[in-house]
Symmetry: C2
Subunit: 443 residues, 2 copies
């Protein structure tokens, strides 16, 4: 048994308990009534974007595929369900053989979405599809929230690189997923070694204030760092006096010094001052990295400052004020007879009460373009997709007959996101609060 398999969600062989108890009790009752075997369609969607946001970003799709593939019950899980009397004996027997055998379609990872977009569509028997609700939503709601924040920060940063540094401000495994989602949204690298290990993300980092404080003098610390990590390293210059630190840094490393990092203070002011000082010292190629509670607004405010890279932590991993999306997983259609894959589907939906309305029916989705090729509407409907929208369909096959068919490299999602965002009206990338940049038309 390798640590590598265990410490991280690398080859998680079961995601079957990332589940709310009611999914199992519904399963038991439906197995007894027979309705469990009715063909069913569930869709994940959101009724609204987070307050003021203009678009959402689909992220986590690849992780959903892993989760579905690994959703199995072996002895310890079944023993737990039995011991806790979560379900009865016939249900336990059914679970022992569980394997998702249905189909999943969805927006590909990195795509943008709007209220009502059918982000994921899960089709199979009620029994097999209902169990996936929680794990599907956990992944999509978390990862999409991070990717949306990352996308806004990437817009604010222009072409300058963004480094994810938020592990310490979120759950240790959420941090790994957050680094992944940030990459989809446009970040270039992460401080998180687990994310490097699991997803191959480029990792970065050199030193903290503790390293300077550990040594008797700042000069000792810089010397130790340069001797070990080379002149191209990044020295942290705000432990004591910034101006003195920059001078010492260049004395120790020479003008070949890779970068200095500023982690506190008025970054706009300090970046200009440090740039001037570095130039005066002949360290014209030494870069300036800033970190310190940055969010998309702070990044934007530094657009005209001589900053070469941004490190972002808290605001990224908490979704910049929106730490979750409000995606739900709803039964939208089901057959009226069991065990018949060809049985006609009946659209179903909760009736309006308190605003939690849904649109029933198994849906397609397309993005309609205007004459200039810019997106003008998200169009969602059930039944046959209109001919003029066939080429603009958004749902792609992810799982067919239980087999994952939609796996792709993470870079594909990252590239797709850049293209999808670029296809939106220009106002999509305004940082200010606003309405969704595309209306959703329901056919």
């Amino acid at each position: 048994m390798s640590t590598a398999d265990l410490a991280l969600p690398v080859d998680v062989p079961s995601t079957a308990l990332f589940t709310d108890r009611y999914e199992f009790t519904m399963l038991q009752a439906a197995l007894k009534s027979g309705a469990a075997h009715r063909r069913s369609v569930f869709e994940a969607f959101t009724r609204r974007l987070p307050e003021g946001r203009r678009y959402g970003v689909v992220a986590g799709t690849g992780r959903v595929l892993d989760a579905v593939e690994n959703f199995r019950f072996d002895a310890p899980l079944l023993e737990f369900l039995e011991r806790e009397r979560v379900v009865d004996a016939p249900t336990l027997k059914w679970l022992a053989d569980y394997r998702f055998t249905g189909d999943i379609w969805g927006y590909p990872e990195g795509e943008v979405y709007f209220p009502g977009s059918p982000i994921l569509r899960v089709e199979g028997s009620f029994a097999e599809a209902v169990l996936l609700e929680t794990v599907v939503l956990s992944i999509l709601n978390h990862d999409s929230a991070i990717a949306a924040a990352a996308s806004r920060m990437a817009v604010a940063a222009g072409g300058r690189p963004l480094m994810e540094m938020g592990a310490r401000r979120t759950h240790e495994l959420a941090a790994v997923a957050a680094a992944r989602a940030a990459y989809v949204g446009g970040f270039r690298s992460s401080s998180n070694l687990a994310a490097g290990f699991r997803y191959g993300l480029p990792t970065i980092g050199t030193s903290a204030h503790a390293f300077t404080l550990l040594h008797d003098t700042e000069r000792d610390a810089f010397t130790a760092q340069v001797q070990s990590l080379g002149r191209s390293t990044t020295l942290l210059v705000d432990t004591y006096d910034l101006t003195e630190a920059v001078r010492t840094a260049v004395e120790v490393a020479g003008p070949e010094l890779g970068a200095v990092r500023i982690d506190s203070g008025d970054l706009l002011l300090l970046a200009h001052r440090v740039r001037q000082q570095l130039d005066d010292l002949g360290a014209r190629n030494t870069q300036i990295v800033v970190t310190s509670d940055l969010d998309e607004y702070a990044i934007a405010s530094l657009a005209a400052a001589p900053v070469d890279a941004y490190g972002v932590g808290t605001s990224l991993v908490t979704g910049s004020g929106q730490p979750t999306c409000s995606m739900v997983y709803k039964l939208v259609a089901r057959a009226s007879v069991p065990d018949d894959a060809g049985a006609p589907l009946t659209a179903v939906a909760k009736k309006a009460l308190g605003g939690k309305t849904s649109v029933g029916g198994r849906k397609w989705a397309a993005r309609r373009l205007d004459a200039d090729g810019v997106a003008e509407a998200e169009v969602v409907g059930s039944g046959e997709i209109p001919a003029d929208l066939v080429d603009r369909q958004l749902l792609v096959p992810l799982v067919r007959g239980g087999e994952v068919v939609g796996r792709e490299p993470l870079d594909a999602a990252r590239t797709r996101h850049i293209a999808a965002r670029a296809g939106l009206p220009l106002s999509a990338t305004q940082l200010s609060r606003g309405e969704p940049v595309l209306p959703t038309e329901v056919r």
Copy 2:
């Protein structure tokens, strides 16, 4: 290899990559300079509470102990660090034998804290202690944020039970930790089966709207549920028409019906109406459970409503607007010579710049009481603790010489939190925004 060991952070054998890359590069540079072997003291603390909060709640301590115990490097991790050139060969060799051998003191789990409270104190060589920064902070920052929200909700709920139902709105493993932290903060149960499996939390849940929509009629669904789960089950009554659903529910289950759940609409109004209807139908013992984007304010607003239990999701797992704490892990003291456990410690701290100040020195902490036995100040200092505060010390030993000595049942933390909160001035439990209810005095 058991699924049980893998799917969940049950026996995570290595937490060593839940680490920011700079901890390894600092290690390498300090090993080379020799400073790595200086005895060092790191402290986790926060400079401020989340905006408007009156107290913080320590949670995650038990998970920190697991993480420290399991912080090891085996072949796949070392190969990764080598392949990615994170560190050099001597450092890899040092890591291969890594095991934390130092001491950890901390506030016990469930205790309350304030700005400047030394929530965790890690003592050892710089090398061994610096590597724990990220994983310690990830756990404490996440779990304490959830526990603080849970504690406020528990106050708002009075004696009524709170059920955690937020798994779908956060990362799938963060959800497990969130359920645990919610329990520490006062929740009674969780919908999350992984939390039941891992931490033995009571789990709850019966059915969703999908179950009603799956069946041809609401009566069919209720009948199926009652036949399978018994009359004491909870029926969800807001899929179609609430009044009709309640009538059908009592017809199907009889007055022995356990509970009805309302998941949308004006809960205050509906709870009164449903209570009246249930009473009129003779179902006087049938309880009313409400769920639907509740937070501590919504819970408080239902205090006078005939509600028997609250289910809380999104706002709990996102810390009710404060999804993370701002705890940092700072070097506060270190020796000036290596490899000498008895060497005198020098207090160190980053100099003021941009507000990120710290107080150097290895600290004690105590909570001073007034004449009535009510807490009146958090007192923090270094050196000898004053005699009058010896009995009120807050730090307890958690790890001694690398051995975990502070493990305890989760119920101990839950009970401790109730007592700690009760010892604060009355204004601690006001939901309105305010200042920390205790001042922190630095000696």
